[in-house]
């Protein structure tokens, strides 16, 4: 029955992720480096699917479609991937995963929650799911099924963020350092940073601090060229090595990462530097191995000293804490998945509901036609009124059964009810003569027992 609401439409998902494919293959199947919008448009033009969304991040390339025929959709999507990325299907076929209906929704919900991410709970993926959907929606590639599914997925992501600690706590050394700095100083606006020795992690940490609005980043290194290179990278200022101690007395945050074999920052130097400065805390992050900062520096009242092991410990603890939150996040996913399946069931009731309405309306029209002769004397307004009243009666009669059919708890019950309604109102039959239909039960009320 063609009803224009896509009753027999299935949600179908095909893709690769970090769980099934190597970085190399993921890069070759990546859509995000090019325009995702163009990709989804190209897909919509070629496939038979009514709706499509392309989700592509560095960890996954996934295509969600609404299709009446999942097997055909699968073939089309494989052909599309092969054409679009200029890859023979054999290269990626063993790494593909596919899901139907509720399983596909379940996968999307877990992705949006950050449960399927490489680093569980990472916050970016929800934004990427939203962007993927918006790119498709802006090009009119989505419809009722994907709209509903993706909006439920956004809800899952939001609930997991609000109700669990899945995304909490830094899970990299540089983020751990920044979150500690924020716990000590609050907002980092106006704070001054001194970087001693240019290395990869100190550059990364300095960049994170910059993005949190620190006022100044001063870099010093035994090799002036290294300091200048890093200064250019994080828009900081390089100063000569001899100015290190003066730099400490000006700084709120000191990051050290030199290759020195012996501590270069002694207790006496920090005590002298802190003696001259405001009473504010001084946060020293010692990323060097072996350490650059004499451990006894930590004994100075306003100094917080963290070395790379301390930061690693924080990262490990945070990862463990995230692990403990997974069950709560999965419960939210299950909760929203139940809403998805209930919604799908209510959609499946639509053909029955529509047939029921058509049957009732046929009866109504037939009765009106039969009585046409008697209404002949009535003015047009009165006839319109009769038409209106009968229509309202039919609608009111059908209101409750419609709601009940949409709200049935599971597929089996739905099957029983649909069957019952079909039989009670003979919905499968060709439209019967209205008059006969109307009087038949009166003539032979026990006909079913015969």
């Amino acid at each position: 029955m063609e009803l224009g609401v896509g009753i027999d439409v299935h949600l179908f998902l095909l893709g690769v992720s970090h769980r099934t494919a190597s970085v190399d293959l993921r890069e070759r199947l990546d859509f995000s480096s090019r325009d995702v919008g163009a990709a989804v448009e190209a897909l919509a033009a070629r496939s038979s699917a009514a709706e499509s969304v392309v989700l592509s991040t560095c960890n996954r390339s996934e295509i969600y479609v609404a299709t009446a025929d999942p097997a055909r959709a699968r073939e089309e999507l494989v052909a599309f991937l092969s054409n679009y990325h200029q890859l023979p299907p054999d290269v990626f076929l063993p790494h593909l995963f596919t899901y139907d209906d509720a399983a596909a929704a379940h996968h999307l919900f877990r992705v949006a929650a950050g449960l399927d991410s490489l680093v569980v709970g990472e916050p970016q993926v929800l934004g990427q799911v939203k962007e993927a959907f918006q790119a498709a929606a802006a090009r009119h590639c989505t419809g009722p099924l994907l709209n509903k599914t993706f909006h439920l997925a956004f809800g899952v992501g939001k609930r997991v963020r609000n109700e669990t600690a899945l995304g909490e706590g830094a899970v990299s050394v540089s983020f751990a350092a920044v979150s500690l700095a924020r716990k000590i100083f609050g907002k980092l606006h106006g704070r001054r940073v001194l970087v001693v020795g240019a290395g990869e992690i100190s550059a990364l940490t300095a960049q994170h601090l910059r993005s949190h609005g620190v006022a100044e980043i001063v870099i010093t290194s035994r090799t002036a060229a290294h300091a200048e290179a890093l200064a250019a990278e994080v828009s900081g200022r390089a100063v000569p090595w001899s100015e290190m101690t003066a730099g400490i007395s000006r700084a709120d945050i000191v990051i050290t990462a030199t290759g020195s074999q012996r501590p270069i920052i002694t207790r006496a130097a920090v005590a002298a530097a802190t003696g001259r400065r405001r009473p504010d805390p001084l946060f020293i992050i010692d990323i060097a191995v072996p350490r650059d900062v004499d451990p006894s520096v930590a004994e100075i009242e306003q100094v917080f000293l963290y070395n790379v092991d301390d930061l690693q410990n924080i990262v490990q603890e945070n990862l463990a804490r995230r692990g403990a939150e997974i069950a709560r996040a999965e419960a939210i996913v299950a909760d929203e998945l139940a809403r998805f399946t209930a919604w799908q069931r209510s959609r499946r009731a639509i053909p029955t509901v529509v047939a029921l309405r058509q049957r009732f309306d046929e009866i109504r029209r037939a009765e009106l036609e039969r009585l046409d002769g008697r209404f002949a004397g009535l003015p047009p307004e009165a006839r319109a009124r009769v038409d209106e009243v009968t229509r309202l009666i039919v609608e009111k009669l059908l209101l409750e059964p419609t709601e009940q059919l949409k709200a049935l708890p599971d597929e089996e019950t739905q099957g029983i009810y649909t069957e019952a309604v079909n039989r009670l109102f003979r919905l499968g039959d060709a439209p019967a003569d209205a008059a006969e239909n109307d009087t038949a039960p009166l003539r032979n009320p026990r006909s079913r027992d015969d």
Binding site: A165, G186, D280, P281, Q302
Partner: protein, 274 residues
């Protein structure tokens, strides 16, 4: 009559504790709403009592504690709503509940002696109660600062680390609360002294008035309090005593305030009824 606010404060306390543990935004909103309801019902109680005796209720310790709790709740609510920071509530609201037990168990409102019925006296009492509320806030901020400081310094980033505001925020809020409290304490003491001088001139034989001198325990401790907080302000400005030292000072200061407010009120005879 003080029972309804007590129940609502207790509910708000539980909600703050649940929010502290689980950090769900809707629980946080519920906690604030409950505290607003508690403060509103308390405002109503204080209002009714004020109508009854025609002055703010503070004629006996129980009435004064109720008014103090009310002012404390209002000042804390102001902080909670303006900063959207609810972590302090888990320490402050239970304190409100504990203190509110006193008026809830000894209800009724007393009228003050006509001698005290003057605007100067009201200014004296309300300023001091408000100053104490500010010091209470500062004390709790100080204690949480110390807890948080220890966790970061010792690298045990535990339960409180993820829940409390930053050290900087705690320190700034502490400084502000001490400064506001000090202003009102000064005002209250000065107005009290002026009023005493005037009242003595009018009623030279009143025993209470005669006892009002520095050797009176209540007045002595109040002056001590003033000295402690003056030092805290001075040390922060000129000696760089912020952070942990300031936090400890404000905690000690509030301990003295509570000592003055409860045991000295109840067990040591003084010139003051509270």
């Amino acid at each position: 009559m003080n029972l309804l606010p007590l129940v609502l404060y207790a509910a708000a306390g539980i909600a703050h504790a649940v929010h502290f543990a689980r950090r769900q935004p809707q629980v946080g909103r519920a906690a604030t709403t409950l505290l607003i309801l508690a403060a509103l019902s308390h405002t109503f109680v204080i209002g009714m009592q004020t109508m009854e005796v025609r002055h703010v209720p503070f004629a006996n310790p129980s009435n004064a504690v109720s008014t103090f709790v009310w002012l404390f709740a209002l000042s804390y609510l102001y902080v909670e709503i303006t900063t959207d920071e609810r972590a302090m509530g888990v320490f402050i609201v239970p304190m409100l509940v504990g203190l509110q037990l006193i008026p809830a168990l000894s209800p009724g409102v007393e009228r003050i002696d006509p001698v005290f019925d003057s605007p100067a006296f009201w200014v004296h009492v309300s300023s001091l109660l408000f100053a104490y509320a500010s010091f209470g806030l500062a004390g709790v901020l100080g204690l949480t600062y110390v807890v948080q400081f220890k966790e970061i310094k010792k690298k045990h980033l535990g339960y409180f680390y993820t829940r409390l505001p930053s050290l900087q925020t705690l320190d700034v809020m502490n400084a502000r609360a001490v400064a506001i409290g000090w202003l009102f304490l000064t005002l209250g003491v000065v107005v009290g002294a002026i009023w005493t001088a005037q009242a003595r001139a009018a009623l030279p034989d009143d025993p209470n008035l005669r006892a009002m001198a520095l050797n009176d325990p209540k007045i002595f401790v109040a002056v001590l309090t003033w000295a402690v907080y003056s030092f805290a302000l001075f040390a922060r400005r000129t000696m760089g005593w912020s952070g942990r030292r300031a936090a400890w000072l404000s905690a000690v200061g509030f301990a003295i305030v509570l000592l003055n407010f409860l045991p000295i009120n109840y067990f040591v005879t003084t010139s003051h009824t509270f």
